[in-house]
Symmetry: C3
Subunit: 371 residues, 3 copies
Amino acid sequence: MGTQLSRRKFLEIIGLTGLGAGGMAALAGCTTKVTPAAPSAAAIRAATTPASAATATAMAGMAMHQSSSDQSGGSADQMTPDQMDQSDADKIKQFLANMQSPITQGKGGLPLQYELDGDVKVFKLTTSAIKWETEPGKWQDAFAYNGMVPGPEIRVTEGDKVRVILTNNLPESTTIHFHGLTIPNPMDGVGNITQPPVKPGQTFVYEFVARPRGTHMYHSHIHSFPQVTKGLLGPFIIEPKDKSSYPKYDREYTLVLNDTVLGFTLNGKSFPATEALTAKQGERILIRYMNEGTMSHPMHLHGMPMLVYAVDGYPLPQPYYCDTLEVAPGNRYEVFVDATEKGVWAFHCHILTHAEGPDAMFGMVTALVVT
Amino acid sequence: MGTQLSRRKFLEIIGLTGLGAGGMAALAGCTTKVTPAAPSAAAIRAATTPASAATATAMAGMAMHQSSSDQSGGSADQMTPDQMDQSDADKIKQFLANMQSPITQGKGGLPLQYELDGDVKVFKLTTSAIKWETEPGKWQDAFAYNGMVPGPEIRVTEGDKVRVILTNNLPESTTIHFHGLTIPNPMDGVGNITQPPVKPGQTFVYEFVARPRGTHMYHSHIHSFPQVTKGLLGPFIIEPKDKSSYPKYDREYTLVLNDTVLGFTLNGKSFPATEALTAKQGERILIRYMNEGTMSHPMHLHGMPMLVYAVDGYPLPQPYYCDTLEVAPGNRYEVFVDATEKGVWAFHCHILTHAEGPDAMFGMVTALVVT
Amino acid sequence: MGTQLSRRKFLEIIGLTGLGAGGMAALAGCTTKVTPAAPSAAAIRAATTPASAATATAMAGMAMHQSSSDQSGGSADQMTPDQMDQSDADKIKQFLANMQSPITQGKGGLPLQYELDGDVKVFKLTTSAIKWETEPGKWQDAFAYNGMVPGPEIRVTEGDKVRVILTNNLPESTTIHFHGLTIPNPMDGVGNITQPPVKPGQTFVYEFVARPRGTHMYHSHIHSFPQVTKGLLGPFIIEPKDKSSYPKYDREYTLVLNDTVLGFTLNGKSFPATEALTAKQGERILIRYMNEGTMSHPMHLHGMPMLVYAVDGYPLPQPYYCDTLEVAPGNRYEVFVDATEKGVWAFHCHILTHAEGPDAMFGMVTALVVT
């Protein structure tokens, strides 16, 4: 689920991106008067060489005021154009601040440690009803595995023997379905079909061999609506036994898409509390999409195409390029991005109503920062 | 549209699945106390061999009570967790009962017999307004071809001369468009463009040569909303002239997806009145998806991947695997499933609100039963 | 954005399609009594030869009355079946009239001329709030580039140096994002991230080198909802430097899909004000789809399949055929259609509620006329 940036690392990025004094000033919260201007001769020259795109003016427009969006109040209809811009700028400021240190409490999708019982990897998941902060100050009633949304990431290798011990501390029954795995039927987690509901206070044990390789998910499969959109989901990654059979990459990110009960979220957070992806120029990154929501989300990355490599864990016979990938509920995709272009690249669902409110961006918006 | 199981056949399946006494008891309607437990050493061993997955405990949780869901009344908000579980279990019980003998009246998509007029295959379709039972006790106002929803399946061979005689007994005009067929323009069935509306009491005759091969549809093309979602649709299968050009398979199913007017349906029925698909372990099944609704439906099969072979009747240059296939309105897909895993595998639209109500599964849910 | 047909050309098409006296009478507005009848022996013979499909009876049902749909008033619920048919027929009549001369004011997507500044192609875009007529008499509050919806088409060649001068005459801020282009980050047009908002009365200059080749778009990227669905979008076509690397075709059309604020539109117009596509039998046409709306639209062409060649400007490793192509928001597709079949072929979004109202077709409906 991405990498939490240290302040040192963040400043290093700032330095590398050549954001310069204007950007630093913006991040420091001061107000910068911005006059739109034609790009310099240098900029247009830079534009002719793909990988050397100057990002000197990136973020230059982020004139940040101390006024919070709360003060503006009211809806966009009541706002002046300047207030609308300010509202948007305030959120961007929060998003950048989130790159330094979290602006909301709680982080989902953290790696889940296992214990070995002989040759069986034992993972423990406990459900509970919690309050989850999806954006600053917005605490919502959620259901969580191990207190986080998405639930912790389970990561094993093809062929591993796996045991998942579920303890249900919810006020209602639940089960776990391992979505995408080929699994013995009694372990498939469908309430009242392959197993009894796991009632409040009960424990259920799943055991199986991890297959096939790929990007999968686990989630509730009884009363799954609203349970899944309320937070009962997590990534289940099965790495290939023979790693040489998989393309090389430098870093990876998982993006769990969700909607409805907790709003439009990426990894359990709404913009501006979403986490940016980062890469160094020249790196290849792997992005694992998972849609746990109730709507298709066409994810659009600015600046660089995505190479669609696998769907639901199965490599495509021939990967293909696109810049917008519609991810349907239940689908997972593995895509590669060659981080050839420096800058802060917007990355969002292209259903505009999932990403843009009446006054500012919100919901399924993040950025890929290439330094 | 699948195979209606006889009671004998159903019991045979039960035997083959090794459901055992617990499952039989559940099916007989008695109450079984279920204590969640870790799988046995045998189970985890079984899990290591793909095709021998033990299904001994499959369905073991289906403790069935005689109380009907009608008695519980109220919404999920007013239910206790136990009542929610019971409501879900009651529906599963009904679904299993439907495998033995129909729990609703009416069955759509039955094969339509033709008469030969020289070398022309003559099919007769008559529209009428009917009451259609989509789930037990839920009778809805529908429009039907030959009294069924979906309309009867027309199945011919590439190159066949086909005549379809439409008699309209609806209270309003209609036409038939043969969706996916390459057809002379005057036979294309678009009201007021390629033909006059067929008014109440009138007859219209369509004649054409069947091409191209593949999974196609026929449906109304005037006042098509709401006519199509009200039931005026049916499968139109054109088998290849050279059958050796098509992959071999052991049995086939058609799944017509629909929504809106009659609710979320598979072949005109909502869970628990949907029909299960069945296969014997080792068989390859062909599933033909057709979306006649107004929303995309990502169909998810548990346990085994789908090999996507053809879209709209056109074989893909390279088939690919997935476990969730988004079927958009108007699209048809031909997918193959190798029934390698024994058990009762849930099979549903992964838009959870199309498959899971506040208290229990409903709508676009069925199962693939591998014995 | 298609070709505006002259009256001469239109009559030529009528002649070529063999619409004959009945069709001409219909187009002239007179009332034709239509008696449905079985096709003649000739028709069924014609049906056996793909490319010679008789279109003699195409449009024969379009009995057109002078009464306008306004006179009928009321909703479909209050209409008699004959009134419903008439309402539909009236709209078709308008659609056909639109092929002769525009039935609404304004046409979007016209080619934008550039000026050369040295070797830089300079395009000027000015935004303004306008009234836009999406269907006859339906004037809506829109935002436009250069007074049209969609904005004018920018068309350059891979590697061209491009300058776009944006002047904002809207009452609120805007920016331009060049969706699909690989571009220096400061030119990416994301308000408050890569540049400051362009406030009312301000000008901003974008400069970059055009790449990669393909079918792209430009649109607002601040307050983008509702700005984009209100009209701030346009096609951005980058032709390949080496044209021999691209398949040959005889004519091309762009179809910009949009929804929400201005309704369901193709190139800024709703049926019956949409423009028909035309082709001569034997021609190959290129269709460029772009979705600028907030919903996926499965576009269905009757009569002939589409060969899907490229997504988001990137050629697929292996093109594939379909007859219904779901275009998600943000995606672009390049598809080829071989115009083998003569006639008037309906062409529409297959989400029926985007194409069919209670009484008649509307919204995302047009036709491909092959003569």
